[in-house]
C-alpha cells in the first residue's frame, strides 16, 4: 500500500519550522516577563487581558480539534493536507491547561460572583448573586467543571493523536472506522463542553445576563480561527518542500470555501442573538448591548460587522482569490485579528464603560501566543506533514499535474 512517492519525498516539515518555533518561544518569554511585571503593577488590567488571550489561543487549539474530527467524518484532500497542522495545534492542550491556572489566581478580579457577597453594595445584584452562586457559579463548581472540560478535550486529543501516529508506519492498519466512531460523538461533546466553558469563563463575567446562542458563537469563532491559522501555516510551509509539491489549488479552494461558510455562520449567530435581544428589548438582556454600543464600544461593534463579516465575505466570493494561497493568507491573518477583536468586544466592556485599550491588551496576547506558537511549531516539526500510510493519503501524495 506504500505510495511510491513517499520514498523519494521527505514528508517532514522543513528545518525553518523549528527556527520559527524557537523565535516564537523567545518572543513569548520576553512578553511573558513584561506581562508578569505588569501583573504586579496593574493586576486588574492584566487578568482581563490574560483571559482574553487565553480564550483566543484556546480557540485555535480546540477549533483545530473540531476541524480534524470533521475531516475524519467527511474525508477529502482539503483535510488531509492540513491534518498534521491541525494535529500539532490541538496537541498544545497541555500548555493551555497549564496556562489556565493563573485564571484561578485572578478569580475575584475577573468574576463578580467569586467576590465575597458582603462587598457588593447593589442590593438587587447581591440577591441575584446569592441565588446563582448557590446553584451554579461557585468557585469549587467552576474548578470541577474546568477539570471535566480539559479531561474530555484531552481524552479526544489523546486518541486522535495516537491513531494518527500509527499511520506513519508501513504496517499501519486502517484506522478510519475508529476515527469516525470517535469523531461523531467527539464533535457533540465538543459542542457541549465549549458551550459550558464559554458560559463559565466568559459569560459569567456578567452573571445577570443570559444568551442561549452564546456557546455556539464561541464554537464557530474557534473553528474559524483554527481554519485561518491552518491556512497561515500552510502558506509558510508552501515555500518549502514537501508542501510546495503537495498543496494544490483545489485544496486551497476548499479552505477558502470553508472560511466563507464559517464567517457566514458566525455572522448568522451574532445577528440572531442581536435580533432576538433587540426585538425583546427586556432590561435584563438589552443591557449587554447597551454597554457594547455606547461609550465608543459601538464603533468596535460596527467595525466587526464590516471587517469580520462584510469585507471578508465580498473577498471570499471571488473564485481566483479562494484558490490562491498567497492571497488567501492575508485574509486569514486579518480574520485571526478580527477574532481577537470580537473576543475583546465581548470581554472588555464588562469592565469599562468607555472604550479603552490597556497595555496588557497588547502585551499579554504576545506572551500567551509566543509560548503557544513555540509549542505548536515544535509539535509540527516532530511528525511528518502527511500520514503516508493512511488509506486516503494517496490522494494528496499523487503528483501535481499541470
Amino acid at each position: 500500500m506504500s505510495p511510491a512517492r513517499v520514498d523519494n519525498l521527505d514528508l517532514m516539515a522543513p528545518p525553518i519550522i523549528r527556527t520559527i518555533g524557537r523565535r516564537s518561544l523567545v518572543v513569548g518569554l520576553i512578553f511573558a516577563a513584561l506581562s508578569l511585571i505588569g501583573a504586579f503593577i496593574r493586576p486588574d488590567q492584566f487578568f482581563r487581558a490574560y483571559l482574553l488571550s487565553f480564550m483566543a489561543w484556546l480557540g485555535v487549539c480546540l477549533g483545530s480539534m473540531a476541524i480534524l474530527m470533521l475531516r475524519h467524518l467527511t474525508k477529502g484532500g482539503w483535510g488531509m493536507i492540513i491534518r498534521r497542522i491541525l494535529g500539532a495545534a490541538m496537541r498544545t492542550l497541555p500548555l493551555l491547561a497549564l496556562l489556565f491556572i493563573p485564571i484561578f489566581l485572578g478569580l475575584p478580579k475577573l468574576y463578580i460572583w467569586a467576590r465575597p457577597l458582603d462587598s457588593i453594595s447593589d442590593q438587587h445584584l447581591r440577591e441575584h448573586l446569592q441565588q446563582v452562586t448557590q446553584s451554579y457559579l461557585s468557585v469549587s463548581g467552576f474548578a470541577i467543571r474546568a477539570v471535566i472540560y480539559f479531561v474530555i478535550w484531552g481524552g479526544l486529543i489523546f486518541f486522535l493523536t495516537r491513531w494518527s501516529s500509527e499511520q506513519d508506519h508501513p504496517s499501519a492498519r486502517d484506522n478510519s472506522t475508529r476515527f469516525k466512531a470517535l469523531s461523531g460523538p467527539g464533535l457533540v461533546l465538543y459542542g457541549f463542553t465549549i458551550s459550558f466553558a464559554a458560559i463559565d469563563w466568559v459569560m459569567s463575567i456578567d452573571p445577570s445576563w443570559i444568551s442561549t446562542i452564546y456557546g455556539l458563537s464561541f464554537l464557530i469563532g474557534e473553528v474559524l480561527s483554527a481554519l485561518c491559522f491552518a491556512v497561515v501555516v500552510e502558506r509558510i510551509l508552501f515555500r518549502y518542500k514537501p508542501m510546495s509539491e503537495l498543496l494544490k489549488p483545489d485544496y486551497v479552494h476548499d479552505h477558502g470555501k470553508l472560511m466563507l461558510a464559517f464567517i457566514m455562520v458566525w455572522a448568522y449567530f451574532a445577528f440572531s442573538q442581536w435580533l432576538i435581544i433587540w426585538a425583546g428589548n427586556l432590561p435584563d438582556e438589552i443591557t449587554w448591548y447597551m454597554r457594547r454600543l455606547n461609550g465608543g464600544w459601538g464603533y468596535v461593534g460596527l467595525f466587526l460587522v464590516l471587517f469580520h463579516f462584510a469585507v471578508p465575505f465580498v473577498f471570499l466570493l471571488s473564485r481566483p482569490f479562494k484558490r490562491d494561497v498567497t492571497r488567501l493568507v492575508w485574509l486569514a491573518i486579518w480574520i485571526m485579528l478580527m477574532r481577537y477583536l470580537d473576543l475583546y468586544w465581548m470581554i472588555e466592556p464588562n469592565f469599562s464603560q468607555k472604550l479603552s485599550v490597556t497595555w496588557a491588551d497588547v502585551v499579554v496576547p504576545f506572551a500567551v501566543g509566543g509560548l503557544w506558537l513555540g509549542y505548536f511549531f515544535h509539535n509540527l516539526a516532530s511528525k511528518p506533514l502527511v500520514p503516508a500510510y493512511d488509506v486516503s493519503a494517496n490522494e494528496v501524495l499523487e503528483p501535481v499535474h499541470d
Binding site: 445577528f271 442581536w274 435580533l275 433587540w278 426585538a279 428589548n281 466570493l317 473564485r319
Partner: protein, 178 residues
C-alpha cells in the same frame, strides 16, 4: 431547408486524456472557435478549449442585488408607508427586523437568476443543433469524447483542418453539416 453549409469538423476520441491532449494541440495550432463534448465533467478540459470566464457570476450577483433591494423596499413600504403599526414602541423603519427577509429574498432571486441565467446563456431550450447531424455523436452521452472546430474559426479550412485533426489520431472524423 437551410442553405447547405458546414458547421465544422468533429473528431471522436476514446478517452478523456486523449481529448484533453487533443484540445491542447488544437489551441496550440491557433484555432480559437473550438468546443468539446464528454459524458462527464473533465478536469482541465474547459481551460484546454480556451474557456476561461463566463457571465454567470455577474448574472447571479445582479439577481441577488435586485432580490435584496426588492425585499428591503417591500418591507419598508409595508411598515412605513402602507400600513404602519407601532410594535413595542420601535420606529416604523426598524432595519434589524428587515434583515432576515432581505437576506432570504437575496438568496431566492440569486438562485432563480442562476437557473434562468444558465438556460439563457446556454441558449436553451434549443430544438435544433447541428452536432446531432453526425450519427456517432449519440455516443457523447455514453463513452466517447468529441472535439469540434467550428467553421466560423478564421483559421478554418475544409482541407487543412481535416488534415490537422487527422494528425491527432482520433477514432473518427466527420464533417458536421449545418
Amino acid at each position: 431547408m437551410r442553405r447547405a453549409g458546414t458547421y465544422g469538423f468533429m473528431a471522436e476520441f476514446d478517452s478523456p486524456t486523449s481529448l484533453v491532449a487533443a484540445a491542447h494541440r488544437v489551441q496550440q495550432a491557433g484555432y480559437r472557435k473550438v468546443d468539446a463534448y464528454s459524458p462527464f465533467p473533465i478536469e482541465g478540459l474547459a481551460e484546454a478549449v480556451g474557456f476561461h470566464r463566463d457571465e454567470m457570476p455577474l448574472v447571479v450577483l445582479i439577481g441577488g442585488l435586485i432580490g435584496g433591494i426588492t425585499g428591503y423596499a417591500m418591507q419598508y413600504w409595508m411598515s412605513v408607508i402602507s400600513y404602519p403599526i407601532n410594535v413595542g414602541g420601535k420606529p416604523y423603519h426598524s432595519w434589524p427586523a428587515f434583515i432576515i427577509v432581505t437576506f432570504e429574498m437575496t438568496i431566492l432571486f440569486a438562485g432563480i437568476s442562476a437557473v434562468l441565467g444558465m438556460l439563457a446563456l446556454n441558449g436553451l431550450p434549443m430544438p435544433y443543433h447541428p452536432v446531432f447531424n453526425v450519427p456517432r455523436f449519440a455516443f457523447a452521452t455514453k463513452d466517447r469524447f468529441f472535439l469540434i472546430v467550428f467553421s466560423s474559426d478564421p483559421k478554418y479550412s475544409s482541407i487543412e483542418t481535416r488534415r490537422f485533426l487527422e494528425s491527432l489520431s482520433p477514432r473518427s472524423i466527420a464533417e458536421v453539416p449545418d
